[in-house]
Structure formats: C-alpha cells, structure tokens
Subunit: 427 residues, 2 copies
C-alpha cells in the first residue's frame, strides 16, 4: 500500500477536522484508495490544541522549515487562512517538493498564478477543493466531470453566513442586524463578519470557480461585488408577496460581450432550484452546453465537511502520477486579462416612493420606458404616507447601463420622493 | 498534445450524441484537457446513420475485429446497450489492450466482476459514468470526491421515465396508463417500457452505485425491486393531501444489520429535497459520515447529457497513467456476498376500506399496535360506500417484517373489506 505522509499547518476548525477525518477514517481511506495516509507533522503555535487532539509530541512543531524539510512529508495541508503566513508556508512547501492542499480561498484567488509557478517548477501539485463550497466537490466536478462542456453559466449560493442570515430574515421577518446577531450567536457568523457579509468570501470563490469553468483566468478584481449589509426586511417581505426569495448569488456567465463574474443580492422565483437552499447549505447550478443543467448541493462550511474536501484532495494528489495544473494560461498580467462584461443583463426589483397624485405613475413608467426598461410586474400598495405610496416594479431583462440611467432619470422626477431599493432578479 | 483515438460502437441516441460532442467540442477538450481526441472508427450495422453524421467512409465498419485490431484506437466506447453483443465487444476490446468506456448499466451491474478481470489482466480500464444518472457525475463524485467518507446512505431518483410518469400523475391527476401513454408520445418512455416501469433500470444503477458507495460488491440479485405499474391516482391525490409526493426511489443504506439496496415507489414530504425533482430530471442524495448531506441533480438521460458523461470518461481514462479499478473485491462468488438486510426500517402509507360500524377503527388500530406498528397520522374520509370508508394511516418507522404480519392480521378482520395500498414513506 502506498504510504502518504501529511503535514497539517494550523489546527483550527478545518485543521482539527482534517486530523479527525484522517484518524477516524484511516481504514476507510486505506480500503477504498489503497493509501496509508499518516499525519507526520503538525504546525501549530498553540501546542495545547495538538495535545487535546492526542497528537504525539514529536510531531508538533512551530517551524515551517522543519515541516518542509521532513522527508516523511509528501503533502502539506495549509488550513490557516488569509494571505500571510499561509503564502510563505505554501511557497516553502512547493519549493521543497511537497504538493500542497489548501482551503484558502483568499490566497488562491489572489496569488494563484504565482503559486502555480512554484508548483510547476518543482513538479508538484496545488489543490484547493476545500476553498470553495465546503465538502461539495464542485472543483472536482468542473475538472473531472465537465470536460466535454463549455460551461455557459454558473449561479450559486456559496457563502453559508449570508445564506443563514437571509434565510432567517425570510423566515422570521427580522431585520439585518437582528439576523446577523443570531448568526453570530449560533456560530454561523464571525465576530467580525465583514469578509462574509460584504461578499468578499463569495468573490474569492467565484473568481476561482469561474476560472475553472471558463478555462480563463478570472481574478478577484474582475468580480463585481455587493454584499448584504443594505438588505431591508421590507424588500424581503414584498418580494415574497410577489413570489420571490432573496439570496446572495455568485454568478459567472460566458456571453458574447465577455465574461460576467459577480456577487450581489438577488431575488429568485420561489420555484427556482436555489430558492430552497437554506441556512448553512450551499448550492451551485451549472449550465453546460452538452450536459444542460446540473446542480450540486451540500454544506458549504463546517469542520468535518470542509475536512472531507481536504482529504479528498490529499487522495487525489496521491493517486495522480502527474500533478494537476490549471488548464489555462494562469497569469496576473493585465495584458492577458480575460474580457469582462460589466453591462450585465438582468431583471430588476425596484421599490420607489411615488406621489399618489394623478399622472405620477404614468411619468414614472415613462422614464423607465424612455431608458429601455421594460416593465413585467407592478405592485402598488394602497396605503400612502405624506402623499407618497410604495410602488414596486419588476422589470424585464435590462442592461445595467440602461437601468442606471433610468434610476438617474427617476431621481429627477418630483413625483419620485426616493428610490428605496434596486435589487437584481435572477431568472 | 496527447492524441487519443476513440472507436464508437453503436450510433444510436448516445452514440450519435458522443460523436457530436467529440466533434463540436473538440477544441474545448483540447484546450482544457490537452487532449486531441479523434474518432478513428465507428461500428454500426446501419451505415446510413454514420453517413448522416458525416463520418468518413473509411472509418465505418461492421467488424469488431477490425475495431479492436486498429492501432489508432486507444479507447472503445460501447453505447449499444444490453448484454449481447455488447459483452462480446467489450471483452474483445479489453483483451486487445483497449480501455473501455460504456453507458451499459445492465451489463456492468451483471457482469462487472468478469469484465474487470479482463481489464486488470490487460492493464486497461473500464469506465461507466454514463451508465448512471446521465451527465450528472455521480460516479466521479463517489470515487474522487467522497474518499474521506463512509457513505451511510444514498437515496435517489435515477430513472427519468418513471419520474416523468409520476410527475404527470401528480400534476394532472391522471391514471398510470394515461401518463405512460403521454410519456411514450413525448419520447420519455419506450414502446416496451418494462425495463423502466418495473424498476429494472433503477435496480441496475443502484447495484453499481451502492457498490461504489459502500466499497462492497452489491449485485442486482441483492436489490429489492418494485416498479410503478400498480400506482393508483387516488393514492397520489390522498398523499398530496397529507403533504407527500410519490417518487420511484432507489435507496442504498449501510446499517448494522447489513446493506439495504432497494427500488420501490415511496412518498417523500413535499419539503424533502427530492420532492421537487420533476419530469426527466434525476437526483441523488448522499450522506457521508464526514461531509454530511450532498445532493447532485441534473438530466438523467438524453443524447447530449449522456454523451457528456461518456466523453468525461474518455478524458479521465486518457489522463490517468494507471487505470482505475473498483476499490473492493469484485466478485460474483456467493461465498463472498455482502450481508444484505431485507427487514427494512421504513414509514408506511396504508390505505384500507374499513367498515363504518362502531369499534371498527379501534380493532384496526389494535391489530397495528399488536404487531409493533405505531401510528403517526390517520385520515378518514367522511364518505362511505356500501358501509365501508377509506382510512389512511401513516405509520412511524416500522420493520418490514412487522408490517407484513400486521397486513396479514388486517386481512383477517371482518371490519377490513380490503387492504388497498401499502406504500413506503421515506424520511
């Protein structure tokens, strides 16, 4: 049986989960993969974490040099997160001929080209299934299941924190601040939730996933990003009346005008496959030109689910004779940047306070029409306040630029007290 | 770039789809896989099919010997279906050192051990992603995504014909015969629909999938099989009243009492992830001990979706230096058969005609209780006919043996005119 020596860098949530999976399911892995996977070293500045897991003293170190110089180590697992020291550690591992498995979405989305250069030069691999959608094998599906397809679109819920918050707001009618607090209390949101709620986490992931799907390098700066911090309970409620559910969507599309890569709140119809993806669950809906629609669903985070993906990569790395590399020119050179389209085509939900005087609605609809915005649905609530009523429009597919101009036009109207909300609607 | 020569055996729905995918997406495959995949030979007894696809005359043959003796052929794709001549052709290919990619669920489920012997002896591979769930990469997920897990259960809708029929019956209130006829008219059911509607197709697939999931050889004879030919519209309607949707489920479970592998109609709650899987779509819900729940969803059949899986396997075969083999002792030897549990634990939907006389319900409930069957829900319709009323029970989790005895007991009661339906309910 082939022996595989693993070093785990970091014994936080995912690191400790990885250790547990490798020990508890050692025999399962041996039987199904014919691999004897052993943890040979653990890098952790807090040795108490290692001792609590029952790791032998001789395997615990705080020295990356010791780890990457250890001949018994074949694969280095980086589960610290963030740019540094993870980048330095991964670079050291690659330069010392160790393949690397990581869960680090920020690092891969920002430094993939550079790290892959070291991997290629040293003829080792760089694997990151665990960086996207937890234990759900979306990367494996893209690289080993979708080879026959041009992936034309990818739409997903790929951040558990924001999905948990929005699901709470939908089910309980609560406001954002309340739902965020509940998420923090239940461990679904960090004390500092910025990375999740501002959409950074999802933007890192969609940069990685869309690169693999489209076989073109999509960088974080190519991703349009808008988080959920401005979401209002009233829009979730009114959207529900119209048959919509609000999600933070991560979207990648290949269009004639270029690649779209974007993260933003969006309504989906309650019959849409993603509408019922709730709480900490994630899902990715792919459309391939040959396979048609495929959806993958599962836990997007969590100690054991994410560790499952880490260990899947350890096995994948160990059973390949040649390392896997990104199947596109992996570069940060702006001259080779993929052509990006920011003039998205989308439907919109638009909520306004409109004067309840005669002719007001006509003028509002007129401005929309003049700017190329077609109206699909209208909801005007009967109650008005201070002479203004709430009016909601759901538009037909509209270009972003046209919508922006229409909004400017609406703001000029006396009849429009305010443009309260503009939320995309994904078909 | 590595050149891969492919021979396609059969130009039916999947074969012609495979040819289309390989020609239309040749460059996509070249770019993302670094493979120049060329169709070198086509085996088809009706040469007109080949000409209509524009295949060069010199590549068309009716001789398997010519195909497997062709040095330009690396991978043989069998998409004829059925046992013979597919088995003879695949055996010839393996013995002549060609890897085989097939969509043939019946052949693999019945002859896997024998064919794998030839594959191993000749150091080539046998791949069959396309045999299960069309283009959805369930096999790739099990073998390359779930390595860290003990898969404890797998529940799926894996036959498009029966799902289409049941979806029609649910949406339109039609009876089985009407829905079957509609399915045949729309091309979702064969003229002879037996293989699908009697559950054979699903039983072949669940034998294959549960073997991979559990790393134990599960054969077709291990699978409990019950099709949809006895499904009555009244039960679909009454089930819907109680909040349930009827599906043909394929289930594999690893329990302390042994492996359960079964195909049968079952109700699921309308909030169950599989409830909304409609028409020709399939889905598989897996539970791994580390990754928790994962679901894969997509088109389970169709020319291009299935061809997408065929081509995925061609690429997978060509990019491995060592062939993949089943990670368990692959044998038909009854002495090594996996331990099977047929005393399933399940909830049940039970519909009876019960006398509307005093005490009748009490006696019926009494028989259930005496046989260890707990009652979770009861629905008695007010209308009675000839002194008998329809009564429906939803039981708690009950062992199959207990339920069988309870049914026998009920049939003995004068108060029970007939036991109309017994349908499992899957949680």
């Amino acid at each position: 049986m082939k022996k595989v020596g693993v070093a785990i860098l970091g014994l936080g949530v995912v690191g400790s989960g990885t250790y547990r999976v490798l020990t508890e399911n050692h025999d399962r892995i041996a039987k199904s993969q014919n691999l004897d996977v052993q943890v040979e070293a653990v890098l952790e500045i807090n040795p108490e974490r290692a001792r609590m897991l029952g790791i032998e003293e001789r395997k615990i170190t705080a020295s990356i040099a010791e780890v990457v110089g250890n001949p018994a180590v074949d694969v280095v697992v980086e589960v610290i997160g963030g740019i540094e020291p993870a980048k330095t550690f991964i670079t050291a591992a690659l330069k010392n001929g160790k393949s690397v498995v990581t869960a680090n979405k920020e690092l891969i989305s920002k430094c993939w080209a550079e790290l892959e250069t070291y991997a290629r030069r040293n003829h080792v691999g760089l694997y990151f299934e665990a960086s996207c959608v937890g234990g759900v094998p979306i990367i494996r599906t893209l690289t080993e299941g979708m080879q026959a397809n041009n992936v034309q679109s990818m739409v997903g819920i790929i951040n558990g924190t924001t999905n948990y918050i929005l699901s709470k707001m939908s089910k309980e009618g609560s406001d954002y601040a309340t739902a965020l607090r509940q998420a923090q209390e239940c461990g679904f949101a960090e004390a500092d939730p910025t990375a999740d709620v501002e959409g950074y986490d999802a933007s890192y992931k969609i940069a990685i996933l869309s690169s693999l799907a489209l076989s073109e390098r999509v960088t974080v700066s190519d991703v349009f990003r808008q988080g959920i911090t401005d979401v209002q309970a009233v829009d979730i409620r009114l959207g529900a009346e119209l048959g919509y559910v609000l999600k933070l969507l991560a979207i990648a599309k290949n269009t004639e005008k270029g690649v779209e890569a974007r993260v933003h709140p969006a309504f989906v119809s309650k019959t849409h496959p993603l509408a019922s993806v709730d709480g900490p669950f994630n899902a990715v809906l792919l459309h391939g030109d040959m396979v048609d629609d495929i959806m993958l669903y599962g836990r997007g985070a969590g100690s054991l689910p994410t560790a499952s993906a880490v260990v899947s990569d350890i096995c994948y790395a160990a059973t390949r004779s040649e390392p896997w590399y990104a199947p596109f020119r992996n570069t940060d050179d702006p001259a080779e940047a993929v052509k990006i389209n920011t003039n998205f085509l989308s439907q919109y939900y638009l909520r306004l306070f409109v004067s309840d005087q005669k002719g007001a609605l006509s003028r509002v609809a007129g401005v929309l029409g003049e700017n190329g915005v077609g109206i699909r649905e209208v909801l005007q609530k009967g109650e008005s306040k201070d002479g203004f009523a709430t009016v909601i429009f759901i538009t037909h597919q509209t270009e972003e630029n046209d919508m922006s101009r229409a909004i400017e036009g609406l703001k000029q109207l006396d009849e429009v007290k305010s443009v309260e909300s503009l939320i995309r609607v994904e078909q």
